[in-house]
């Protein structure tokens, strides 16, 4: 499920490049967030043959991360700049990849899925229904309100009410600050415009240098990541 509100053509190149043999769907209104408690991507949900969830939404990958060439270059350049800017004094901040690679183990996650595929309900990774509910994301009333603001923002953005949409995006982010999908969706819309689109335009999720005062959101990807410790972005649930 591609959680992107901008229409099929934004997701199409990724789906066509992957040549999926499985259903590959679009989720423009982020139903995965509201119905399953997805708060970041990639997130994975396991459902057994009877339609019972046996693992709720959690970070998961199909194997070791493989980035396209353009993304590898971008990450390498970022790591170089982070190293350049690192102060010699005081504790050293983890760089972006250290922050993103902490937590859930990317390399062994597919082995857990294979274990379930082979052993079914006897797999040690299968949770009971009570465990599934308890391990799903917390949802106080604030999170319901955040989802309602997100849905309004999503609708208003797609119908051309840009300022009103940004107002609701900001309310949504304030009410559910740990929902990265709501944030990244919003930041990427404006970030993509600022860099003029392109293959990786939607990975620009903050103001360009010198345009900080013109960024319409209360925060940005870099500002939020700077507050994290390894393991907090993709928590280990295994």
């Amino acid at each position: 499920m591609s959680l992107e509100l901008s229409g099929p053509d934004v997701s199409r190149p990724f789906i066509e490049a992957a040549h999926p043999e499985h259903p590959s769907l679009l989720d423009p209104t982020h139903q995965m967030d509201a119905l399953f408690g997805v708060v970041n991507i990639p997130n994975v949900v396991w459902i057994d043959e009877s339609g019972t969830i046996v693992r709720p939404a959690e970070p998961g990958w199909p194997g070791p991360q493989q980035y396209p060439e353009a993304m590898r270059k971008r990450l390498a350049e970022r790591a170089r700049k982070e190293a350049e800017n690192a102060s010699d004094d005081g504790p050293k901040r983890p760089n972006l990849m250290q922050l993103l690679r902490g937590g859930q183990d990317r390399e062994t996650y597919p082995d857990a899925i294979r274990d379930w595929a082979h052993n079914g309900a006897a797999s040690r990774f299968v949770m009971t229904p009570d465990e599934v509910v308890a391990a799903s994301q917390p949802r106080p009333m604030d999170c319901s309100e955040a989802a309602a603001h997100f849905e309004l923002a999503n609708h208003l953005w797609r119908t051309g009410h840009r300022d009103a949409a940004i107002h609701h995006f900001n309310d949504c982010h304030r009410l559910q600050p740990d929902n990265w999908t709501y944030k990244r969706q919003a930041w990427s819309l404006v970030g993509n415009e600022r860099v003029g689109g392109g293959e990786l335009g939607r990975f620009n999720q903050g103001p360009l240098p010198g345009e900080e005062d013109d960024w319409p959101f209360a925060s940005s990807f870099d500002a939020e990541v700077a507050k994290l410790q390894p393991g907090e972005y993709y928590p280990n649930t295994m």
Binding site: E4, I15, L25, M32, L35, I41, V132, A146, A147
Partner: protein, 109 residues
């Protein structure tokens, strides 16, 4: 769920929230919540713990998902999910019953 008017259409309510309006109330999985006044959206929202947010500029409302139970999942029964593929073909998650399913949420950002 976007509402142009504060009226609940039961079919749409079930499709978008997973809650079925039955004689005994609003039901999802094993949980049924009595609804004394089915025409009062604010009352329904309050009983299910759904936030109701209004946009002044467009006069639209949005109903958030239930917070009843305090977790994203009220039960381990997978909710129905109906989405389109990139060619506009509709697909129902429940059509995969009888198979193990791994749902993967991703995004191009």
């Amino acid at each position: 769920m976007i509402l142009e008017q504060l009226v609940i259409d039961p079919h749409r309510f079930e499709t978008e929230t997973g809650w079925t309006i039955k004689p005994e109330g609003a039901c999802k999985g094993d949980v049924c919540v009595p609804l004394p006044d089915r025409d009062d959206v604010s009352d329904i929202a309050g009983r299910l713990g759904m936030a109701l947010v209004h946009d002044d500029a467009t006069n639209l409302n949005a109903l958030g998902p239930e917070s009843l139970g305090g977790r994203a999942l009220l039960s381990a029964e997978a909710p129905e999910l109906v989405l389109n593929d990139i060619d506009g073909n509709s697909f129902r998650l429940s059509s995969l019953r009888g198979q193990k399913v791994v749902l993967v949420a991703w995004a191009p950002y």
